[in-house]
Every structure is written in C-alpha cells, then in structure tokens.
Chain length 333, copies 2
Amino acid sequence: MAATIKDIKAETGLGLATISKFLNGGNVRAENRVKIEEAIKKLDYHPNETARSLVTKRTKTIGFVVNNISISFSGVLLQHASAYLHSRGYGMMICDSNCDKKQEEENIRFCVEKQVDGILITPTGKDADFLQPAEKAGIPVVLLDREVRSDHFDCVTIDNRNAAERAAHDLIKRGHRRIAMIHSEEYTGRERYEGYLAAMEKAGLKVLPEYIYAGEMHSPELGYESMKKLLSLKERPTAVLSSNYEVSLGVIMAIHESDIRCPEDVSLIGFDELILPMVLNPKLTVVAQPMEEIASEGVRILLKRIEEGKGVPPQRVSLYAALKDGDSVRNVG
Amino acid sequence: MAATIKDIKAETGLGLATISKFLNGGNVRAENRVKIEEAIKKLDYHPNETARSLVTKRTKTIGFVVNNISISFSGVLLQHASAYLHSRGYGMMICDSNCDKKQEEENIRFCVEKQVDGILITPTGKDADFLQPAEKAGIPVVLLDREVRSDHFDCVTIDNRNAAERAAHDLIKRGHRRIAMIHSEEYTGRERYEGYLAAMEKAGLKVLPEYIYAGEMHSPELGYESMKKLLSLKERPTAVLSSNYEVSLGVIMAIHESDIRCPEDVSLIGFDELILPMVLNPKLTVVAQPMEEIASEGVRILLKRIEEGKGVPPQRVSLYAALKDGDSVRNVG
DNA sequence: CTGTTAGCGCTTTCAA
DNA sequence: TTGAAAGCGCTAACAG
C-alpha cells in the first residue's frame, strides 16, 4: 500500500492540517518542514490526486476533443498543447472525433462525465449545440483553429478568410489571372475558399468552375486527384491555391508525376508550414499558421478561465498567419 | 450543484447502498429500479467518477506515452487505441516524449502521479529503467511497436527484422542485386536495417557502404536527402528499401524531382500502409503494419492485466506484417 | 503556526 | 434484497 498523509502524521507527530498545508505550499515552521520532507522521502509519499480532486473539485485534467487526430496539423497542435499543459501540472485526455459529429457529441459527454476541468476543441463544424453538456456542467471550453455559431466560448483562430485572400492577392499581384483553388468543404477549407473568392472579385477576375475543386475533407487524395484534372485541362491555371497541408502533399505529388514544372509552369501556394514541403525543391510558399501560438494561447485562456472563473466575457483571439515566401510562385506577364 | 447519490436517496426514500448497487449493475427489486431510474432522469444525476475512484482505486484512465506524436504512425495508432479504450469506458491521457528520454522518464512519472490504471507506450529506446516508477506503483505497462530490454512487460510488436528481411528478399528474388537502404537509427529503423543485412548476407550479396543511409530519426528529410545522393551515384542502386512512412515520402519526392522513374529505373519498397503512397502512381509496395491490430491487442492485453491482475507472465505478441504488392518494384535481369 | 473536526460522494461490509 | 455505518485520502474551516 502506498503511504498516505496519515503515515506522515505518524512519522512526524504533526497534525494532518499542517502536513496538508505544507503540501500545498503554505507556511510551516522550518523545523517541521524538515521533518515532513524527511518523512516524505523515507516513506516515498505521493499525494493521492484522486482524494485531492474529490475535495477540491479539480481533476487537473483537461480534455482535448480533436476533429481528426490522424492529420499532421493535429499532431503538431497536440504536441504543443500537451507540453504547455504538463508544465502547469495538467494532464491532457484526448478524444478523437474522427470528423464525425455523433462522435464529437459523444466525446463532449465523455469529457463531462470524466469531470475534466476544461475542454480544448478543434470542432468539426460550426454548430454549437453539442457543447451544451459542457456549458451546463460549468466546464469552460476553448475553441482552437475554428469558431462555432455561438458567442459563449473563448476561441483562438487565425483569420482564414483574410489569410487566403492575401495569398490569392499575392498571386494576382504577381500577374496571375488563371488561378485555381483546391479546398475541402470542411470548416477551414470553406473559409479559405471564401477568401480566395473575395480576392478574385476585388481584382475583377472571373472564377472559372473548372478551376475549383472541393472535397469533403482535407486529404492528400483530394489534392492529388484535383491537380491531375487541373493539369489535364487545355487551358491550365497558372497558379493553384491549396487549402491545407494534406491537400498540398497530393498536389505536389501530382505535379511531380507530370512533366509540368513548378514554378515555371504552374505556381503553388499552400497552407501550413509543416516540414515536408519545406525541404522540397522548390520550397513551397505557404500561409504559415502559428501552431505553437494557437496552442499556447488556447491553453493560457483555458487555464485562466478555470482558475479565475467566468468573470470576463468570452474572448476571440485571431492570430496573424503570415504568407511565407518559398520558391513555388513565379511572376508572370 | 450537481445531483449526488444523496439526492437520489431523498427523492426515492431508498438507502444509499441500494442505489449504489443499482448503479453498479446489481440486482434491485423491479419497483425500486423504476424509482431510481426516474429520480436519475429527473435530477439529471451522473455518478461522480472521482469519488468512485477514491474508493475503488481505479481511475478508468490509461496513459499513452508516445515517442513522437507528430508522426503519422502515432496519429493512426492513437486513433485506434482511443476508440477501443472509449468503448470500454476508459479515458486516454497522452504524453508526448518528443523522442527525448528525459521527457519520456518524466512522462512515466506524470502518469504514475496521475494514478492511471495502466500505461500504453511506444518507447523511444530499448532501455527499460525509466519504467521502474510504474512497476513499483503496480501499474501495468504494455509496450507497443517496440520492445525494451526487460521481460517484465507485455509487448505487442511486429517482427521488424523478419519483415524487412522478407522485403529485401523479395527484391533479391526479383533479380535486384544493388539494393540500397535508408533507415533511421531509431528503434524500428535499426531492426529493419538488420533484417536487410540478413537478407543480403543469405543471398551472398555485398552491402555497399555508399548504399546505406542512416539518420538519427525517421523523417522526410532523411528520405529526401539520402535519395538525392543515391540518385547522383555513378552506379545507382536498382532498388531502395525505406524504413518508414516519413522516410518514404521524402524518397518519393526526390525521385519525382529527378528524371529517374519508378519502377523503371529504380524499385522501391517502404514501410507502413498509410494513405498517401497508396494513391500515387506507381502505388508503393509496402510492408503493411497492422496498425489497428497493434492498438486493439495492446488495449486488450492492458485491460486484461488491469482487471485480472498479474497472474500470468508477460506476453510478447508479435503480429505479422504482410508485404503488399504495389507497382513500385520491377523484375530485373 | 498548528491541530481537531467535518466532510467531498461514493462503495462496501455487515446485519437485518 | 435492503440500509446503516464506516471509511477511501485529502482539504478547509475553525479554534487554539
């Protein structure tokens, strides 16, 4: 049996309260502190977090409900979030929604049941109803990367629409007119598409239906298949905007397989500054999402909410995603 | 305040023990069962898992200590493990070791502190010392994908050495003599390299140092840079074995950028049947690790250990990884 | 600063 | 079957 606080009491002859106070960083007479420290070492005592939770009503665990754990973006976000959380003594329970609303709803319930102190989530859609159990249970929720139709929750995103608009604008500025876009109908993919539309419209450019490929989800296949088709057009686009990392991978593969060259024959801008497209020739020009900041801001806001309560109204933090030049875009005309 | 079992008692007039028994699936008179069910619905009662844990000494949470959460393999493994665990009512707390032994050691301690019921781990190395805190605390550990130098733990792997040997043998059987290998010095990469060596030796083939590229970790850069160099050799290999998914991606990119074709000019076999290399032309021939089985077997063994104790000696399950033909290998000579 | 006391919400003897 | 009571290990008043 593991040692308990009572064993420390027996060992030191002190009262439970004193020991508990010490454990929680309170002031104790130097002499007693030494006694307690020695007893702890001797008995290899570790506080029972469960017992502690029962009385403090804090589990020191947060739930991370991730829309799709198997994409690279999630891995990186999880990595950063987990690191921050651990450094603050919090554990991270992950629940994969696998891009499924039913599963996501279930995940929220699971988190509530497990009594996490807070929830970090990359939601699958814009609908906010499924978050109700958490709200009802008084568990703070911070949305990461995506917003929902509700102003009850804190939220850390990048301005996808604006970022995509800047990317498309950059292509236009460099003389491109025939610009294609490959995007998913998923959340962020949709927003990025809207940004593209805005840039095209402002420049007075026509959006050709044969230049638009929309898939259900972000995936390499989407990029690969779409790009194959774009390359087979009689009048090929001179530039392509790809709405996320997975999609870009597929696009690059398709280009490589053809005898079309990038950027000589076709320019390309992608999203997400993940490793692979950065080591390639040409280095991909991307809209770089500040992943670490998204994670750290999200964690910071969540912990603040947990520790200081619901005083302040929900915040919406929108981080800036810079367009980072690579070598995959050329000037035309 | 959330409803407690006492509220149910007040509502139904029954004793706490009866209600508790009902909650845990025990036999209760039909009439009382109805009463309790109604009260639960009316008060929206949910058992407090923390209180339950305090007395049962079970947190219904397992820790997953992952060597590197940002690689695709981890995402897929986590996805399956999480699904199985959830279906059994268990939560999954993840701890990323980020390929760092110090971090890994810290993660184990963190899990012990958090009193998880069991640990699933893809270890960073072969050394087993860091698992001691878990062992001392009586927390069962199941190793996934990789073994360590200790026979105290259950373990689910594929036979990497044998699988790589079969892959290399397949190349040899198809007439290849100049076979290169790109691998990491990480755990599985090393084992796969040994399998390659075994196949070459059995076939009486020389292993040329200029055909071997070893990197510290599995990464696309490793594959990309190594393949670039291999392709620039005066006497190029006719086939390349790549030790994991990330590495293969890099290799494919390098081939695409050159004017060498696969499989006409160079054959390629990779590891891990993940999506991208499957949608490409040519479809990559791979050693397919049974990811879902690794996860489900691991979870099954762990939960059994948790629920039925340490009676049986540690098991080592070695799953078969089949070589799946794609179109990236051609017959020569 | 210290110790006593009362719970946190639940499960589990044990006797009825 | 049921219920009263004890207690899991800890924190949080409160009195000293």
